[in-house]
Symmetry: C2
Subunit: 117 residues, 2 copies
DNA sequence: TTGACGTATTCCCTTATGGGTATATGATTG
DNA sequence: CAATCATATACCCATAAGGGAATACGTCAA
């Protein structure tokens, strides 16, 4: 098997920095494709392709407005990611880190004088 | 160019479900590779390969213990992801009321120095 | 209608994935 | 030393990525 498709889920879709940029821009409000093209400094086809991926995982929604297509953010699919990450939040808190170090030291000490079995 | 390497950053590393599982397991404590092999139901080489990726983005640390290698979690590289996602938290909490005002302001500011139309 | 504009799709190309399988490396025991 | 356990690496393969460039499609203006 190859790597999972970028359209598999929000995790994969958002792994691409350009797509994160797009979401960041759309967080400020609806925008047509050409706006994004200008702001991202990318060629139009690549932007459209990124938008397609985001659409497929429902991170953006489209609305036709004349010959333009207005894209807007739909952040809901990001919630699962946030939830998953929140479970690790304690790990990077200082109190936890302190404890971690203590445990590490204990382990090291143990290794030194516990060479019997 | 092809897709960014899985070892580029935590975003890419964590896009793979198996690697998320591994982190979840290691969150409960240090474990040798064979433990993970059993728990994941994966072949040993694939587990080692996933662990290599996680090591390269510093999401896990290793410690030699006899002929075993004890892997442990280092969640810190996940913090940036969590931070990025937190900016969107309001979106799925339906708490647009407060945020809307900020967004409107941003839009106005942008209109001034942006050369659209 | 024609033509310009805004956007999407297609094709080419290089690169790397992740699983499977075989084998190499390292440490421990006898 | 050899044999064995624990883990890492090397290969092969099918798949798809993301950028570049060309082109197709849909809408609006004249």
């Amino acid at each position: 098997m190859a790597r999972a498709a970028t359209t598999t889920d929000a995790f994969n879709a958002v792994a691409e920095p350009r797509r994160r940029q797009i979401l960041d821009l759309l967080a400020q409000g609806e925008r047509p494709v050409n706006d994004l093209v200008g702001l991202l400094g990318l060629a139009q086809p690549q932007v459209s392709k990124h938008l397609r991926v985001l659409r497929e995982v429902d991170l953006v929604r489209v609305r036709d407005e004349g010959r333009q297509r207005m894209y807007r953010l739909n952040a809901e699919p990001l919630k699962p990611l946030h939830d998953w990450l929140s479970r690790y939040e304690a790990s990077w808190n200082k109190r936890f880190d302190l404890m971690d170090e203590v445990l590490e030291e204990l382990k090291e000490t143990e290794k030194d004088d516990d060479n019997d079995h």
